[in-house]
Amino acid sequence: MSYGATYSGPIGLIIDPTFNARKYSNLPFASTLNGSCTNVCPVKINIHEQIYAWRRELVKQHEAPFVKKAAMKMAGELLSHPAAYRAAIAAADYALAHLPRFVIYNGLNAWGKHREVPHPPKQTFHSWHHANRGERS
């Protein structure tokens, strides 16, 4: 019902798109892929793996929204350039520590809707490694 489809819940996420891939294109993205569904399934359907497979399938079929695709592309660029990634992390840590709440908790940040954004760590593993083991690597 919340899905606007006949089948709800995890099994719905993997069956509903076979009825209408466009209409139910958002559903497989509404999962943490924690696998609890797979653990309890009495006929051992690998539900969480199929949810993940549907994501790939729907993106292939161009059923992912533009914003999501653009965000993934940007993330892909960032993650494939270590220097840019580290600069972004440093900037984000600084921003989280110093910006006023209303800048961080607003409509644009879906993460902050029902929870607190985690505190930035004082030191990342990379900077620790650089400081302590840097000369040997």
């Binding site: 019902m1 919340s2 899905y3 606007g4 489809a5 006949t6 089948y7 709800s8 819940g9 995890p10 099994i11 719905g12 993997i14 069956i15 076979t18 009825f19 209408n20 466009r22 209409k23 139910y24 294109s25 958002n26 559903l27 509404a30 999962s31 943490t32 924690n34 609890s36 569904c37 797979t38 653990n39 309890v40 399934c41 009495p42 006929v43 051992k44 359907i45 690998n46 539900i47 199929q50 497979a53 549907w54 399938e57 059923e63 929204p65 029902h114």
Partner: protein, 394 residues
């Protein structure tokens, strides 16, 4: 009567349902009835209006997050929904730990289903042949529209104007109720939860407990509007009995009956339906005409395989060892007629999807829905259970 202290077991019930002086809800051995409806105490507060499901705009992508946000914004509903599903999950765990061969049963069930699905044509042919030998009329429907046309055709041939039916996800899939309304056949759901949903003109929200998102006060509103009950009386016994009194005459006068099917047995041509209200038996046996709608993936090879699934189904679904009724229909009743409609509606196409065909193994127990932490934003116990090692202690 005081409750035995059990610090190891977390409370299962909504605090407003826990009333220490409520003797009706306590077992002989001192334990409380542990289902959420165990007490008939009225809710203390006046809850908010029931949030409705996702908004549908044709084939535009459904925004389930919008629907979820509205549900979360209704704290009474969210809390109750959360606790009811968590209650089911806990009871399922208890049943699972009660039988040492649980994992063996799961493996067997999986293997039987995979074998059947990879030989589906043979078993469907066998089922058709044995069913026909038993005197059952067998129909094949390629899609939802054909299913509805076939059912309507059978009803027309018998001059039937009213149809009582037990719960069936397949008929939900086919939009049977809307179709029958358009051709002037009255459909009466006999499962209590499904009847509530029908009277409220709303789809089921869960495959096993279709009205699980409704508070008893919501049901009181629906029944007041449709059955003329007292709007302010949300006592579950009163509501259930009122519905029974209203529905029973319709059942007795119905021209035809319909059931779904949990398992169709190729070897015997039998159709097995599992219910907790006995309503499949009413639907199949009160009228002279019985139609069973069967998704083609429901077939299993032999009667002995049924034992595996019957032991798993209700334990997984409701955390009870078995459904109250496990009804077997193999032939028309004396002087009656029995039809089965075998429905594809996208299933054979799904069977051809290399990554997704095993989703056809599903027996619709709903265990995955009851355990999922996503719809439950605050189901903390479960999240602790899942992420125990990462959970911060406050």
């Amino acid at each position: 009567m005081s409750l035995p202290a059990k610090p190891s077991e977390p409370p299962m019930l909504h605090p407003e349902l826990r009333a220490a002086d409520d003797a009706d809800a306590i077992h002989k051995d001192g334990r409380r009835l542990d289902h959420a409806e165990g007490s008939s105490r009225a809710l203390q507060s006046r809850p908010e209006e029931q949030p409705r499901g996702a908004k549908i705009h044709g084939s535009r992508p459904v925004d389930q997050a919008e629907a979820a946000a509205r549900f979360i914004a209704a704290p009474e509903h969210e809390k109750m929904h959360d606790e009811r599903l968590w209650d089911l999950r806990q009871k399922r765990d208890r049943e699972m730990h009660g039988i040492p061969e649980w994992e063996e049963l799961r493996s067997l069930a999986s293997v039987i289903k995979e074998h059947t699905l990879t030989h589906l044509d043979e078993y469907l042919d066998q089922f058709e042949a044995t069913a026909q030998r038993n005197g059952v009329h067998v129909h094949w429907a390629q899609d939802a529209a054909e299913h509805n046309r076939i059912v309507h055709g059978i009803l027309r041939d018998h001059g039937a104007r009213s149809l009582i039916k037990s719960k069936s996800m397949l008929t939900e899939e086919c939009g049977l109720r809307a179709y029958m309304a358009s051709v002037g056949v009255e459909v009466i759901e006999t499962d209590l939860g499904e009847r509530i949903q029908q009277l409220d003109n709303e789809d089921p929200s869960h495959v096993v407990v279709p009205a699980v998102h409704k508070l008893r006060t919501d049901v009181a509103q629906v029944f007041a509007r449709t059955l003329g009950t007292d709007r302010d009386n949300s006592d579950v016994h009163y509501l259930a009995e009122s519905q029974r009194q209203a529905n029973r005459p319709l059942i007795l006068a119905a021209d035809a009956g319909m059931t779904g099917c949990n398992f169709a047995i190729a070897e015997t041509g039998g159709v097995t339906v599992c219910t907790n209200e006995g309503n499949a038996d009413l639907s199949a046996n009160v009228p002279k005409l019985h139609i069973a709608s069967i998704g083609i993936e429901k077939v299993i090879p032999r009667l002995e395989h049924l034992a595996v699934f019957v032991r798993l189904l209700s334990r997984s679904a409701l955390g009870s060892p078995i459904t109250q009724y496990t009804s077997h229909f193999r032939a028309p009743r004396e002087g009656g007629e029995m039809h089965v409609v075998l429905v594809d509606n996208g299933r054979s196409a799904r069977l051809g999807l290399a990554q997704f065909w095993t989703s056809l193994k599903c027996i619709r127990c709903g265990a995955c829905m009851n355990t999922c932490p996503v719809p439950a934003q605050r189901r903390l116990e479960l999240r602790r259970d899942l992420f125990r090692s990462h959970w911060p202690h406050h």
